[in-house]
């Protein structure tokens, strides 16, 4: 099935290259051209219902938009580190012209491979180092987490909010801090209890961490890991929770307050278009609620009307730029002022965040 199709496109391509005009006109010629090969490297399985699932929806959006003008390939469950380099190199060697590497730990491998394939365009998610053929893109998840913090701070009865953290990188610390700051704005004594599981994806352990937190008096579970397991535990134990990367309401119809939903599709479509147009340029994209890189899923029944309004006000404030989630005064967990009154943290400071705000216990 695939082979004759390949041969036909190959022949058409050669014919066009030889300068022969095809009788069927430009449209036929365009569709018969070699498709743009696009590779995706995933850190988890596409069926994790979290992070990788979200990226794969983005890949599908590209396929839907461009049809047979593109040919996408993905490799899932690629461990961060040396393995990643091998996979990325293989994708580049196989003729993929655009490669999305979708985890923080792929940063160095991506840059390394990019050096040896100057004609391939690389897009690295959540990194901070670019090169002539490497762009980085990231989502301002902390914006969503500020809204989540507001909901959690307003709804917690015990004043203890659980946070299941994956691996200790600034991105995750940023999420913890955003949650804590905004929870404490409505509940000044709120405490964000953090449990690190040192993995992006281990449903069993994520669930166990949720149990540990709930047993210690936490009544709202938030997470920075990729499966719906913590939310499921929250539902079982009758506490509240927040979905991650996808709307996870099916797993916790009563518990889910909202979910931070990743939307990579539009960006993937835009970058693919740029390659097709020959207009791809190195860029450093860090978009958030405003540009639709993330959205919040509809509020659950546990969120009362008045709270929906105040949460929406924060969301809209972030979208119109009147609210910056990291506006001073912000104290660190030792009580020292880290951000002066009225000052805002710069992107660089946020991307290197390695300290906890007041109210975080980790």
């Amino acid at each position: 099935m695939i082979r004759p199709l390949d041969r036909r496109t190959f022949l058409a391509g050669t014919a066009a290259a030889a300068g022969l005009t095809l009788a069927s006109g430009p449209f036929k010629a365009a569709s018969a051209a070699d498709p743009l090969k696009i590779g995706f490297v995933y850190v988890g399985p596409i069926g994790d219902f979290g992070w990788t699932h979200g990226h794969d929806l983005g890949r599908k959006a590209v396929e839907t938009k461009f049809g047979d003008k593109v040919k996408t390939t993905y490799v899932e469950n690629v461990a961060e580190g040396p393995d990643a380099e091998r996979v990325i190199r293989k994708l580049a060697a196989d003729g993929n012209k655009l490669i999305f590497t979708t985890s923080f730990g792929y940063m160095e491998p991506t840059l390394k491979v990019a050096k040896t394939f100057p004609n391939v365009f690389f897009e690295h998610a959540t990194g901070f180092k670019t090169a002539p053929n490497v762009s980085v893109y990231n989502s301002r998840f902390y914006e969503g987490r500020a809204v989540v913090g507001h909901l959690a701070g307003s709804l917690t009865k015990t004043g203890k909010i659980g946070y299941i953290a994956s691996v200790p990188i600034p991105e995750v610390v940023m999420g913890i801090n955003a949650t804590a700051i905004w929870a404490r704005k409505v509940r000044p004594d709120a405490e964000v209890k953090v449990v690190w599981i040192n993995s992006w994806y281990d449903p069993g352990k994520e669930g166990d961490a949720a149990k540990a937190l709930i047993d210690q008096g936490v009544d709202i579970i938030t997470q920075h890991t990729d499966s719906p397991a913590p939310l499921q535990i929250a539902e079982q134990r009758g506490v509240l929770g927040v979905g991650q990367a996808s709307d996870m309401k099916a797993f916790a119809p009563k518990s889910q307050l909202t979910a931070i939903v990743d939307e990579w599709g539009p960006y993937y479509v835009e970058r693919t278009q740029a390659v097709l147009d020959g207009a791809w340029k190195t860029s450093d994209t860090w978009h958030g609620l405003k540009e639709g890189f993330l959205t919040l899923s509809p509020y659950g029944d546990a969120v009362p009307e008045a709270l929906r309004a105040s949460a929406d006000a924060i969301k809209n404030g972030i979208i119109d730029g009147s609210i910056h989630p990291f506006t001073g005064p912000i104290k660190n967990d030792k009580g020292e002022i880290k951000v002066a009154d009225g000052a805002k943290l710069s992107d660089g400071d946020m991307l290197g965040m390695n300290w906890y705000v007041e109210g975080v216990s980790a």
Binding site: D215, Q216, P228
Partner: protein, 309 residues
């Protein structure tokens, strides 16, 4: 840490230990017969997805559990045919079985992602389950938790006190001798391998029906490999497998609770290292001093059986 926190913590430990115990006790029998099946992770995943799909399809968790056992047995039979009948390399075939299981389970499971299922019911005994502390501790679990302990007891008894158990051990220690006095080595090994598959299937069913009642790809997250390590850790003894499963589960859970309790001043990475540290310490202790030399792995472990005649 307070007293009322201990009970839920113990319950969490039991839940974490159960899939390890189920998979490890099956692998113990397989290895006692001299066969090394590294496909535990793959068989667990197959069991998990089949249990989930069957439960969603039929509405019956009981059928789901049986389907998982059948799935485990079918997977292990494939392994048996390749390694016992066709004498393929056991290590390579076992690894292939894991890779196959990962792929097959995500294929079967793709339409079940995002579907929730009701958690396996606990077998509550009216009156008895309500006794404070002891009630939930001893009588508040689902059928697979009891099955894991019952299987361990049964395997310990079978291997130690029955004639068939003796034959199975003989096959694992010296296949040629067992063969020369008239025992069908291949047949015994087939049964041992199938029992291992059945147990791995159960372990998978526990993951997708009780531990985290859902299907997501790769949800075993390496527990099959921990179960394999557990067999060596337990130096091929059923009761030590039981103890080991609870130590592994316990240390993992304990560190999550300690983190949540806060203020112990130990980095999370060190805490996460604890299960592995515990393994090393126990292995060091049992392989030194008076226990030295009693690690006894079955002598024929991993070797294909080639009768001289």
């Amino acid at each position: 840490m307070t007293a009322e926190m201990i009970l839920p913590m113990v319950l969490t430990v039991i839940a974490a230990a159960t899939p390890l115990l189920l998979a490890a006790i099956g692998e113990l029998v397989t290895e006692k017969a001299g066969v090394l099946n590294l496909g535990v992770e793959g068989m667990m995943l197959a069991g998990a997805v089949i249990a989930f799909a069957t439960t969603v399809g039929t509405g019956s968790a009981t059928l789901g559990i049986f389907a998982a056992m059948v799935a485990g047995i079918v997977m292990s039979l494939a392994f048996g045919v390749l390694t016992l009948t066709l004498m393929a390399n056991q290590v390579a075939t076992g690894l292939a079985l894991t890779i196959f299981g990962i792929g097959l389970s995500s294929l079967i499971g793709s339409s079940y992602i995002g579907t929730p299922v009701t958690k396996l019911a606990t077998l509550a005994i009216p009156g008895v389950s309500d006794i404070p502390v002891l009630g939930p501790l001893l009588f508040g679990h689902d059928v697979l938790v009891y099955a894991s302990v019952a299987l361990t007891v049964a395997v310990a008894w079978f291997l130690k006190s029955t004639r068939k158990g003796l034959i199975l051990r003989a096959v694992g220690e010296s296949d040629l001798s067992a063969h020369s006095i008239g025992y069908d080595v291949i047949r015994v090994r087939y049964f041992a391998v199938m029992f291992g598959g059945l147990c791995s299937g159960l372990a998978g069913a526990y993951l997708s029906l009780s531990y985290t009642p859902m299907w997501v790809e790769g949800m075993t997250a390496g527990r099959g490999w921990i179960a394999l390590a557990l067999v060596a850790f337990a130096s091929w003894r059923p009761w030590r497998v039981l103890g080991g499963a609870y130590i592994f589960g316990g240390v993992t859970i304990l560190q999550l609770y300690l983190q949540g309790a806060g203020g112990i001043g130990v980095p999370a990475q060190v805490m996460n290292m604890l299960p592995y540290l515990a393994t090393i310490i126990v292995l060091t202790v049992i392989s030194a001093g008076p226990w030295r030399g009693r690690l006894d792995a079955p002598a024929c472990l991993g070797k294909p059986f080639r009768p001289a005649s």
